[in-house]
């Protein structure tokens, strides 16, 4: 019953991808990537449009939904035309054809499908029978606000009131996505936030699989996804309906899109446009996403100025900015007009930053807690990674090493930034560490898994790892 509310976002997100890449014709791994990435992007875009409508026109009714559906249908028709046209027009081979890939290890694929099925069962049990309203942040912030937007009528702005100490300036992707679907249905069933949590949780698994299938091999994609299934803490946070998993989804998508850009430079413009969209969605999901946005620009554009042709970098940056603008514009509008100040960043706390920055004890507390948490995260899953690396070894191709450098730098900078946020936190850093460190790791975890499996040797034995993997999926 609730699925029709998801049709428009899915059509919008998937159609944008198809319009940009019509030659893929929705087959194979590309179909998986289009569905999972398109679903997330569609939710990001429609959560932005419904908020703008709400802010300017009041609670959205049939006019809004007619406009949204109209946009979805137009984009879908255009996408259909592009697929149809590309099917009959001779094209220069972009290298991304959909030919069957020999060498898929059938039992590895079957295990992947089996674990996916079991995980779907676990997700349904956990969400519908254990925590249908989500946990803590979901009840206190994300779904709380969505309920206010839906039930509040003319008083919907109370959703951003001073009731809670935290979260006064939290962005709205999850909140307005839930509100949007409730508004369409005319009631507020718990199935909607659960559906959205499911889209981002399983979307992360599918993006991880499909991206590695494109960049390395299907077997590598299966193995990486199986590894993420073992990361039950990532899965748990997804069922809690927290915004950390959607943020992880967009961070992973962004790094994947930049990896695809490095791999397929001939289609860099549409890829950076999509990356702009995913980065803006990350910023629209959580405040940490805004930090991610700054670092993406620093690493992928400013950091490349001396290394690449500046005119090419500028062209890519323009494409990126075009993708960034719509959702980021909504975020700015929200921040300037509705969001109250951040509970932790104010004039008083800024005055103490200097003191905290030179407080060695804070470094010791934060540093030891971080090391301990990383080594024991998800029952010590990093040791499983270490074991795999020890026995498998790294891919010795220089190209892969080169491609990974900027992505690894980006993630390390994110971690450094998080580290210093704990250092300058105006309060006892132990409190913040105990409540947030696990979720901070979760935000970057799927991307670390992606980079790890991009880097290490694949599962296949006696298959030489090409410096430039076959251009097909």
């Amino acid at each position: 019953m609730e699925l029709p509310a998801f049709i428009a976002p899915f059509l919008i997100g998937a159609s944008i991808i198809i319009i940009l890449f019509p030659e893929y014709r929705l087959r194979g791994v590309w179909l998986v990537l289009t569905i999972s990435l398109g679903a997330g992007l569609g939710l990001g875009i429609t959560s932005s449009t419904i908020f703008l409508w709400l802010a300017y026109m009041g609670p959205p009714g049939s006019y809004y939904f007619a406009a949204e559906l109209g946009l979805a249908v137009i984009l879908a028709l255009f996408a259909f035309y592009r697929i149809h046209y590309s099917a009959y027009s001779p094209q220069e081979d972009s290298g991304l054809n959909c030919g069957a890939i020999p060498g898929t290890i059938a039992w590895l694929r079957n295990i992947f499908l089996f674990l996916m099925l079991i995980s779907v069962g676990s997700f349904l049990l956990k969400t519908f029978f254990q925590d249908p309203h989500g946990i803590w942040d979901a009840v206190d912030t994300w779904n709380y606000r969505a309920r206010w937007l839906f039930r509040g009528g003319p008083h919907w702005t109370y959703a951003f009131s001073l009731r809670a100490k935290d979260g006064l300036d939290y962005p709205l992707l999850i909140t307005t996505s839930v509100f949007r679907m409730w508004q369409i249905l005319g009631k507020d069933p718990i199935a909607i936030p659960i559906l959205i949590a499911g889209i981002f949780t399983f979307g992360s698994f599918l993006i991880l699989f499909s991206s590695l299938a494109l960049l390395r091999s299907r077997n590598q994609g299966y193995l990486a996804a199986i590894f993420l299934f073992v990361s039950t803490q990532f899965f748990n946070i997804g069922t809690y309906q927290y915004a950390d998993v959607p943020l992880a989804f967009f961070i992973l998508s962004t790094v994947v899109l930049f990896s695809l850009k490095d791999r397929y430079p001939e289609v860099s413009s549409p890829l950076v446009f999509l990356a702009g969209l995913t980065v803006s969605c990350a910023a629209w999901t959580k405040n940490e996403g805004q930090l991610f946005l700054v670092l993406v620009i620093s690493v992928y554009f400013i950091g490349q100025l001396g290394k690449k042709d500046w005119s090419k970098t500028l062209k890519e940056f323009i494409g990126f900015t075009l993708g960034l603008a719509p959702v980021l514009g909504t975020l700015f509008y929200f921040k300037f007009n509705f969001a109250l100040e951040n509970a932790h960043i104010n004039v008083d706390s800024l005055k103490q930053f200097g003191t905290y920055l030179f407080d060695i004890e804070r470094y010791i507390i934060v540093g030891t807690t971080w090391i301990n948490k990383f080594l024991t995260f998800n029952d010590g899953i990093v040791w499983l990674m270490a074991g795999y690396f020890l026995f498998s070894g790294k891919d010795r191709s220089d190209l892969i090493k080169k491609r990974l450098l900027s992505h690894t730098t980006l993630l390390l900078l994110m971690m450094c930034s998080y580290f210093f946020i704990y250092i300058i936190y105006p309060g006892n850093p132990r409190d913040l560490l105990s409540t947030s460190l696990r979720r901070i790791i979760i935000q970057l975890w799927p991307t670390w898994v992606f980079l790890f499996f991009y880097y290490v040797k694949g599962p296949e034995k006696n298959v030489p790892i090409p410096a430039n993997p076959p251009r097909s999926f």
Binding site: S122, Y144, G152, H155
Partner: protein, 147 residues
């Protein structure tokens, strides 16, 4: 020396595993075998908790407790909320369930209506300036301000 031993250990393991899985690297099993245990065990642990009733869903309990009083509260009203619950999420759960009613924690500043949630006290509480309007029988009471 250590490297030599490690290399020998790796090759021995590889040889043994290659007998059973000739097409993949031994390292793959480091991930696949734990996954085949962990993911199903995780599923059955959730299922067991549900079947044995070892779970609490506070929000649903609050939905049930406060369902009757919600009907008597005007939409968007501001009401006082007092509770003797020691649960850390008591206020948040009540605020979430009662939307679009706005709740103010404690009896002051006094508003026209006051909700009291009694989880364990035997005596009827008294709130200055308020009188009991309705007792819903499940520990939930509605007080009104005396003018």
């Amino acid at each position: 020396m250590f490297q030599k031993k490690l290399k020998k250990f790796k090759s021995d393991v590889d040889v043994q595993l290659s007998k059973y899985f000739p097409s993949v690297r031994a390292a793959v099993l480091f991930i696949v075998i734990p996954a085949l245990f962990i993911v199903p065990i995780y599923f059955f642990s959730i299922l067991t908790e549900i079947v044995t009733g070892e779970i609490e869903i506070p929000v649903l309990e609050y939905e049930t407790r406060l369902a009757s009083i919600k009907k008597d509260l005007p939409a968007n009203a501001v009401v006082n909320y007092v509770s003797n619950s020691k649960a850390p999420y008591d206020l948040i759960n009540a605020a979430y369930v009662l939307i679009p009613v706005r709740i103010v924690e404690g009896p002051k500043p006094a508003h026209d209506l006051l909700i009291f949630q009694n989880f364990d006290a035997a005596e009827m509480p008294k709130f200055e300036g308020h009188t009991l309007k309705k007792d819903y029988g499940n520990g939930v009471m509605l007080f009104k301000r005396v003018k």
